[in-house]
Point group: C2
């Protein structure tokens, strides 16, 4: 039997090495090199071409190699096997650090200081007490909750918008459709962590983004298609938004003619807020392979109908 | 009786207002408006011109308005009254945030991503596990200790160089002259928090800075004169250092013709790592005024012979 590896453009060398080190007797196929489809017992994959997963007759589980499983949403026929999410505390820690960095960037005016340096200006810029700086989180799953906790420990005033009842220490919750507008209106920074599903596709459209104050900034670390990129550009151009940090885009790699590259109010990073490293993430993979072989349930399961 | 206020170029309006709110019956003189020198009971000051402090016959205490008291070192004759340091947790928190921001900036390659954005390049940059990224602290006083604690909680491998015996959780200590070179050699980032004294003036000279690896970065948040700025420039220009974040300079405001403004490896901020805000700092001032009037010792005392 064999484990099939695929990680989109990011390559599988490091995964293959880390996996082989922990499971030395295992046969590993790196897609598209698949000598025998019937050998494939586990598909440890991300962004595998559409339709491919249905072609392995002896597949026992799909193990995701990244935090998101949205690439599975385009499948019309998924094999009837468990799909297992990748949970890697190192990735969640990295995404949290990414958010702390960019919130501090705005709160402490580092974007202004960079401009002042270009102009040779020595001038302190005032900032409010940290507990008056308001950061909001959209998407209070395990990643959003950890980001909220870290922001709150740092001292920011943290809130989140949720649709169902939740309790999170030190995070003020705005609930349901009627509290969405007041949630947005009070923010200095909005962090989008919503997973991409049919419900969240284009959720941050012109109308919803327009609820933010003109000084407010948007940080997107989930999936590009949750934001209507044209609407975001229009609001930035019209002075109705203060700035954006975009780590994810509807089309990746970001096309060279995309407006975001050269927009003075936009920071682009290449889907790197939480880079998955086999050095830490391989443990979750190996654990679940051993669980399944021992007849136990893999954990945590991914639900393609919810998108997370 | 009166309180004399002076805060260098930063102005005293906010201090005066905050102080008057807590002590409404108090007379406040904002230097250089001093109707009667004999009225001055407390000098709440920073960067007061040399010689000025000795001209108030009824002075009971000098209350520092900033974290450093190095401006007192140029005085040849200080009045024989207690000098009280300003301790403001908000300032220490801000300095800590400043360091976390810039260490993340280097660790997570945000300087490279900014360059990639200018060039339209979409490419992830690798980084090591956070516990292999080594940050060192020079100056393990109350500020340096807090910065070390926060870096260590974030996950970095933190070390510090000390001259006398200390114990700090999660911070590896290098001790004494013989361990200075190995301390410097292992670092990815050096944070200087040494106070400026006659012993530390020019301490980070060419020889000592040259002990750092060629990829290493320097963050200076204490006082500019602790670093030999020409030596730093030479090392950067020669490719023997990776970069520097300089919040403080030997001469401030930074002269418009200073090399640091335009150096591609240097980030300049205007002595803003920990801005002292009267909104939080006034409490320490009022506490000590009331203590002294009640016949109690003010706290904590500043020792001009040590420089902190």
């Amino acid at each position: 039997m064999a484990i099939l590896l695929y990680n989109g453009d990011f390559g599988t060398d490091a995964w293959s090495e880390a996996l082989q080190q922990q499971l030395p007797d295992e046969t590993i196929y790196c897609y598209p090199q698949v000598p025998n489809r019937e050998d494939v017992e586990f598909a440890a994959v991300w962004n595998l071409p559409q339709g491919e997963l249905a072609t392995y007759p002896n597949l026992r589980a799909i193990l995701l190699l990244g935090a998101g499983g949205d690439f599975l949403m385009r499948e019309t026929r998924l094999p009837n096997v468990p799909i297992v999410r990748l949970v890697d505390d190192a990735v969640i820690g990295d995404m949290t650090q990414y958010c702390l960095y960019w919130v501090a960037h705005y709160y402490r005016n580092f974007h202004e200081y960079a401009r002042q340096q270009l102009e040779g200006v020595w001038k302190r810029i005032e900032y409010p007490p940290i507990d008056e700086y308001r950061v909001g989180i959209l998407g209070l799953g395990n990643i959003g909750t950890e980001i909220g906790r870290a922001l709150s420990c740092t001292g920011y005033q943290v809130s989140a918008w949720v649709q169902s009842h939740r309790e999170v220490d030190q995070v003020k919750l705005y609930k349901g459709v009627e509290e969405f507008a007041p949630f947005m209106a009070q923010l200095d920074v909005l962090i989008n962590v919503l997973p991409l599903t049919s419900n969240t596709h284009g959720f941050l459209n012109s109308e919803r983004l327009g609820l933010l104050g003109t000084h407010a900034k948007v940080i997107n670390i989930s999936r590009g298609a949750v934001i209507d990129e044209r609407a975001l550009k229009s609001l930035l151009d019209a002075g109705k938004l203060g700035g954006a940090v975009l780590d994810v885009f509807a089309s990746e790699p970001l096309p060279s003619d995309h407006w975001a590259w050269a927009h003075p109010l936009v920071q682009v990073t290449p889907h790197s807020s939480g880079q998955t490293y086999p050095r830490s993430a391989v443990n979750s993979l190996v654990d679940n392979i051993l669980r399944i072989r021992a007849g136990e349930e893999p954990y945590p399961l991914f639900d393609p109908t919810r998108g997370y």
